[in-house]
């Protein structure tokens, strides 16, 4: 028998924690976009109606502005931002052209059911320069989707409607089950929005896109119930080490 004092003790396993799966997904997409040359900008979660709606060409009458869709705070003086687009408004107002920026974080809508939560996460990107076209937008969107889902994935673009882009599109991918799944919304920045931000829309044009992080995380990890992300259950979180 060898001397006991000479033997190596068992490996000391140190329990590691983990980033939240939503953070992991957000960071993953952010890194893809940083590699393309986008810069990160931040903005507040409590916004004015002007930045959250008016500047984005969302008219006073738009259903999204109703009390049943948007959280208003402090006697309707402000809103909890319903998307990260107002951060881009702040970016357009403060940064020099051309600009390529991404904004991400928590957004809030007055929903709470099996597929919607009152708080969720978005990442949005915008690129403004001379001569930016819908064909350029498609190139970028393909790159993002291929980075996320691989180059074999089938992608389709569908006409859609967002007040702040024109033309607007929604993009689907074909799942293994043969079902088309909506992945993101995008479009050419509406010249009205550029004008609102004092950008000469006759000279410059822009593209914009936005992804819901929970949706991407659910697809990538194959999590079926969106509510699992926010139970703070260690059994669940341990999976994402």
């Amino acid at each position: 028998m060898s001397k006991l004092q000479d033997i190596n003790p068992p490996k000391l396993t140190k329990g590691l924690g983990s980033y939240h799966p939503i953070t992991q997904t957000l960071d993953h997409i952010t890194n893809i976009l940083l590699d393309y040359g986008f810069n990160i900008i931040d903005g507040p979660e409590i916004e004015t109606e002007e930045f959250n709606f008016d500047m984005l060409n969302i008219r006073k009458s738009h259903p999204a502005r109703q009390m049943h869709d948007t959280f208003y705070v402090n006697d309707k003086s402000n809103v909890l931002r319903t998307h990260t687009s107002p951060v881009q408004i702040r970016g357009m107002l403060s940064q020099q052209l051309p600009l390529a920026m991404i904004s991400s974080g928590k957004v809030y809508r007055k929903d709470d059911d099996a597929t919607h939560l009152p708080m969720f996460h978005q990442i949005e990107g915008m690129y403004i320069n001379e001569g930016v076209s819908f064909a350029n937008l498609k190139d970028l969107i393909y790159k993002i989707i291929y980075s996320l889902f691989g180059e074999d994935i089938k992608v389709r673009f569908r006409p859609s409607y967002f007040p702040f882009t024109e033309p607007s599109a929604e993009v689907d991918i074909l799942s293994e089950d043969g079902v088309w799944l909506e992945i993101l919304g995008c479009g050419i920045v509406n010249p009205i929005v550029l004008d609102n931000c004092k950008i000469n829309s006759n000279k410059y044009s822009g593209l914009a896109f936005g992804l819901g992080i929970e949706r991407i995380a659910m697809l990538k990890y194959q999590v079926k119930d969106i509510r699992d992300f926010y139970k703070s259950n260690l059994d669940f979180l341990s999976h994402f080490k």
């Binding site: 990160i40 009152p118 064909a135 389709r156 006409p159 990538k220």
Partner: protein, 633 residues
């Protein structure tokens, strides 16, 4: 919105099959499902003009020749001497009234009406309301029928504030609160919540033979939100909110009259058309170069004009005239979307985009702080900010989802405490969590980015830390190892204050992550993730067993470890070494393993665990110098 395949295809000259039509509708951006030959469409909110058979056919006109209009009442209609007062012309720029008196009420409907009520999920009401509903389905224009004997010869359109109780024709009373656009009768009673639902007091019934049909164009802003506000399902409101065609009233009412004529003898028909605003068609300069620039395409003038013409636009050499039903078209970018839809979004070739900037260097302190905690076994959690707690800095949510959570949190403490308790209830004996979030107070300019760290129970699940309990010092040492100057004290969370009977100390600290916060931690931060497929966790309770071994020969220790740490039972959720020491006096090694079992389909039974443990014990005892102290032979 539901539209029958049959009702579309019978007006398309080539009679395409349902799959082809479905593909065309997707091409045009009209997402849908098909159930029993009915398209259930999600029309985007800017395309109110497509909320009808006529509207969809206009869009499908890009691909097909089709029968544009149905038969209308061609004869002269006498003027209607009706007193209508419009106090809000900015909210209703055009309105028409048609008075119809019929001889008798039909006891059956012609094929097209019969097909509508047989094929579509709509219930019949009374003759005139049934025609009105059919007209809305066919043309997209809602109309409202008043029983003319109940209404009289007068109608006033006005805005009211807090209009009070209103009995709707849906047998539902609503209390009008705030501003509403309403029609009133001579007695100043509300007879119609404009664009949403009519009143019981002037409603038609199965005996009605004399009606006044109202055909209006309302400003969408006057209608939006009303049906939700009063919890009324209204097809009319859905259409008015998305805008209607103000220039088609004469056609709509003549079509209405034609359907009446198809079913009964008309004794009297009179019409009144009123306009409160001149409307001119929108004209947009035709600029094919600009369109190609927006889209990144290279299509010809001719192709461009062909697409637009097929979609109902009129083009002269310089201008595109927008048809009156296309309320969504105002600029060259809107036109570019029409061209893109026509080409097909998937048929536009991508063009390489080079953003052409260098990647920004990551100087994010927050990521290093996160990684420090994760490397020490902490899990990141994310909570929503809504809370019942009110303090002097709280921001109130005016329209909270839950009346018990009407404020935004000003600290992360309670969220994290709840997370800790949740996991303690799930039998976790080592809980280490953190959350980073923005916090807002009434001083909105004082937005703070906070980190909250909570921990309780065992320090770790290994033989060195198994018996150590988490303390404030434990957390403090982790933070100080990265030389973080957090300048905050730990906050006491007494177990009694959270209704917990456990005795473990709860360590909690919260501090602001300021840009100048220094973190001296050489973190290996990932920039991509594997996205390992998630296997749903079991909701059934787990059960643990401990085994302590004595090992005389060190080489047998390696065999024992290798065997146990590589066990592969479906119900074995976790295994780790919780105890290890060398007993020099007895010249043996003592090592303890903890096994945790859990079933994914039921509460795991003791007998099942015992069988597995017996098997494990037997296997281990086959290793020469391994014994289990206290185990009976």
């Amino acid at each position: 919105m539901k539209i029958s395949y049959k009702h579309l295809s019978q007006r398309i000259l080539s009679s395409p099959d349902i799959d082809e039509l479905s593909e065309r509708l997707f091409h045009l951006g009209h997402e849908h499902e098909i159930n029993d030959q009915i398209f259930d469409l999600e029309i985007t909110p800017n395309r109110g003009d497509c909320l009808s058979v006529d509207g969809l056919l206009r869009d499908l006109g890009l691909f097909y020749d089709y029968q544009e209009n149905n038969k209308i009442f061609e004869k002269k209609i006498d003027p209607f001497e009706f007193e209508f007062i419009n106090n809000v012309p900015n909210q209703c720029k055009k309105i028409s009234f048609l008075k119809i008196v019929i001889d008798e009420i039909p006891d059956s409907y012609k094929d097209f009406m019969k097909s509508y009520y047989d094929d579509m999920p709509n219930k019949k009401n009374n003759f005139f309301t049934d025609v009105s509903n059919y007209i809305s389905y066919e043309t997209g224009q809602p109309t409202h029928c008043y029983d003319s004997n109940k209404l009289g010869n007068y109608l006033l359109l006005d805005n009211v504030c807090d209009g009070g109780n209103f009995a709707t024709l849906l047998d539902k009373d609503i209390n009008l609160i705030g501003d509403d656009l309403v029609f009133k009768n001579k007695e100043n009673n509300i007879v119609n919540l404009a664009g949403v639902v009519g009143g019981q007091n002037t409603a038609c019934n199965i005996d009605t033979k004399s009606v006044i049909v109202e055909c209006a164009h309302f400003n969408p802003e006057s209608i939006i939100g009303k049906s939700i506000k009063y919890d009324i399902s209204s097809d009319a409101a859905h259409k008015f909110e998305r805008n209607t065609d103000s220039e088609r009233h004469e056609y709509i009412l003549r079509r209405f009259l034609k359907i009446i004529e198809d079913h009964s003898t008309i004794k009297e028909a009179k019409i009144l058309n009123m306009s409160f605003e001149d409307t001119n068609p929108i004209k947009i300069p035709f600029d094919c170069n600009k369109l190609n620039k927006i889209l990144g395409t290279n299509i010809s003038d001719k192709e461009c004009k062909n697409y637009l013409t097929r979609l109902g636009f009129e083009i002269d050499s310089n201008n595109i005239e927008v048809p009156s039903y296309r309320n969504d078209i105002k600029s060259i970018n809107d036109i570019s979307e029409e061209i893109a839809r026509s080409i097909g979004y998937d048929n536009i070739n991508p063009k390489t985009l080079l953003v052409a900037k260098e990647r920004m260097k990551d100087t994010n302190n927050e990521n290093r702080l996160k990684q420090l905690l994760i490397d020490n076994g902490f899990f990141e959690v994310i909570n929503n900010p809504f809370t019942h707690e009110l303090n002097e800095n709280s921001i109130k949510v005016d329209n909270s989802l839950d009346s018990n959570k009407r404020f935004l949190r000003t600290s992360l403490k309670n969220s994290l405490t709840n997370n800790l308790l949740y996991n303690e209830r799930r039998q976790h004996d080592s809980i280490k969590l953190f959350e980073i979030s923005n916090i807002y107070t009434n001083a909105l300019e004082e937005e703070k980015r906070l980190i909250g760290i909570i921990a309780s129970g065992r320090v770790d699940k290994n033989y060195r830390d198994f018996s150590k309990k988490i303390s404030n010092n434990y957390v403090k040492e982790i933070l100080e190892s990265a030389k973080i100057n957090f300048k905050k004290d730990f906050i006491e969370i007494p177990r009694t204050s959270i209704d917990s009977k456990l005795k473990n100390h709860i360590s909690y600290i919260e501090f602001e992550i300021k840009p100048e916060l220094e973190i001296n931690y050489d973190a290996q931060i990932k920039d991509s993730y594997e996205f390992k497929k998630y296997v749903p966790i079991s909701e059934f309770p787990s059960s643990s067993r401990d085994l302590s071994f004595a090992v005389k020969n060190p080489s047998d220790l390696i065999i024992l470890e290798d065997f146990l740490l590589n066990l592969d039972y479906e119900s074995l959720k976790n295994i780790y070494i919780f105890d290890y020491y060398i007993n020099h006096k007895n010249q043996e090694i003592k090592i303890g393993f903890r096994f945790t079992f859990q079933s994914s389909i039921e509460t795991i039974k003791d007998t099942e665990i015992n069988n597995l443990m017996d098997n494990i014990v037997n296997q281990c005892l086959k290793i020469e110098s391994v014994s289990i102290p206290g185990l009976e032979e």
